[in-house]
């Protein structure tokens, strides 16, 4: 039995929600922890900092698809509660009409046409990396595959050549709390300055002679005579480095771990390549790279039968919603590459749905296809899987495995 206390709001404190204070989990088994959260109820209060936690699929969907009642402008992570922003730090922090404007200006760069033009080069990049992996002996797939692929794709989006890939990697690391480079303050500052200078140079170049790539699109897209300012564009490219990198990396490594832990599911892919698309969706559901984002109620409302007052933040636990038996049925806890329907929320949902979703899906599919092309018949774990302690990003830091071909 846990101690029950309540705060000024009168809500009862649920100690399990303390995991969402700060930036680190102290639970060993995330899946069991999420199951416990869902069993406790549709909405759980944290009195320490004053926020709700929504662990079930239904309430996550209700919050995500009602951006009028649940806004993003007052922070999307619990450590932002109480923060006041003069201007939104990222597009993810904006609400309509600002969000509508940003989205209209950046979406064409991630639209169907541009992603299609990237298809061949993303697949080529994945194939080159997979073809260099050793077969039939242990290899940690994180450094030679999961790390470089998203970096190379982002470098392509920015129009940077191969000799700059290491720079892109270092800039990205310097933007992500928890990395070795980030911890080195002097190095981080130097890399940040270098990155912003380079991004501004790319922006200036794209303004003068835009190519038919993402940066060219961003530099030239106009909606009703309006376009992104140089600062906005550079900020957005910076966000791209963070949002497009670590999430994709962990989805790739986490997905390969899942396929190693479920050899029957890899066998299904070997037997039937048409399952790759649904396998990608299942990997997204299973790994859920972003564990949670937060919204804040703009008015008194109700969620899962619980009254929510204006000003109260709500944490949408995507990673828990994606294992909810109420949505995914009795097989919610099984990894099924043929799952259909699969209404996962790994990209969030509603107006803030991941901008790079099509690109992420392409990268994961390209990895699976490249491994199948290389004749990998079975993936087998060859040591303990390393997982990060972050309560924001579900990080896989080490994924040692053997890629069998016999």
């Amino acid at each position: 039995m846990t101690t029950v206390e309540s705060d000024r709001s009168g809500h009862v404190h649920e100690p399990l929600t303390d995991q969402f204070l700060g930036v680190e989990f102290s639970v060993a088994d995330h899946v069991a922890y999420y199951a416990e959260l869902r069993a406790r109820g549709p909405l759980l209060w944290n009195a320490t900092q004053g926020f709700w936690v929504a662990p079930r699929h239904a309430e996550v969907m209700a919050v995500a698809t009602d951006s009028e009642t649940f806004c993003s402008g007052r922070g999307i992570l619990t450590f932002e509660i109480g923060a006041e922003y003069a201007s939104p730090p990222t597009m993810m922090h904006t609400d309509p009409p600002d969000h509508t404007r940003y989205r209209a200006l950046v979406q064409p760069a991630f639209g169907r046409r541009v992603v299609k033009t990237l298809d061949a080069s993303v697949r080529e990049a994945a194939k080159a990396l997979v073809d260099r992996l050793p077969l039939d002996r242990a290899v940690d797939v994180v450094p030679p595959l999961a790390v470089p692929l998203p970096v190379q794709v982002i470098a392509q989006l920015l129009g940077l050549p191969e000799e700059r890939w290491d720079d892109v990697w270092a800039w990205s690391e310097a933007s992500i709390p928890g990395t070795e480079i980030y911890a080195d303050e002097a190095r981080r500052a130097a890399l940040n300055a270098e990155m912003m200078a380079e991004l501004m140079r790319l922006v200036a170049e794209a303004r003068v002679s835009p190519k038919d790539d993402v940066i060219g699109q961003l530099a030239t897209t106009e909606v009703d005579g309006d376009r992104l300012t140089d600062d906005e564009l550079a900020m957005f490219l910076n966000q791209l480095l963070v949002a497009g990198n670590e999430t994709t990396r962990n989805t790739i490594s986490g997905g390969l771990v899942a396929l190693a832990e479920n050899p029957d599911q890899w066998a299904r892919l070997v037997a039937d390549r048409s399952l790759v698309a649904s396998a990608v969706e299942e990997i997204l559901r299973w790994t859920t790279a972003v564990i949670y984002f937060m919204r804040t109620a703009t008015r008194d409302t109700e969620l899962g039968g619980v009254p929510v007052a204006a000003g109260e933040p709500v944490v949408m636990v995507y990673a828990s919603a994606n294992r909810d038996e109420a949505e995914f049925g009795p097989t919610a806890g099984s990894f099924d590459v043929g799952r259909s329907p699969n209404h996962h929320v790994a990209f969030g949902f509603g107006a803030h749905f991941c901008l790079g979703a099509a690109l992420a899906r392409l990268e994961v599919a390209a990895v699976l296809d490249a491994l199948l092309d290389r004749g990998v018949t079975r993936l087998e774990l060859a040591g303990p899987v390393g997982r990060s302690a972050s309560n924001i990003i579900a990080g896989v830091t080490a994924a040692p495995m053997i890629l069998h071909t016999t």
């Binding site: 064409p108 991630f110 169907r112 329907p341 949902f349 107006a351 749905f353 991941c354 979703a357």
Partner: protein, 62 residues
């Protein structure tokens, strides 16, 4: 009520399909298509929601 999806804007996010699979479908390459001429009254609210929650504002109701 009629509804259309702007192919150039659609990002293939599937939000509309998730909110109202009776009216929206996804093409083989994962982008939204409208599968009815006239939106039945019982789905009009879901379609309105899909239009406001579409991440790329690709849905137009007429």
């Amino acid at each position: 009520m009629r509804v259309t999806v702007d192919d150039d804007r659609c990002g293939g996010h599937g939000v509309c399909f998730g909110l109202c699979p009776e009216v929206f479908d996804l093409s083989d390459d994962g982008y939204a298509v409208v599968k009815v001429d006239e939106v039945p009254p019982e789905h009009q609210e879901a379609v309105r929601k899909a239009a406001t929650q579409c991440p790329t504002y690709a849905i137009t109701i007429t």
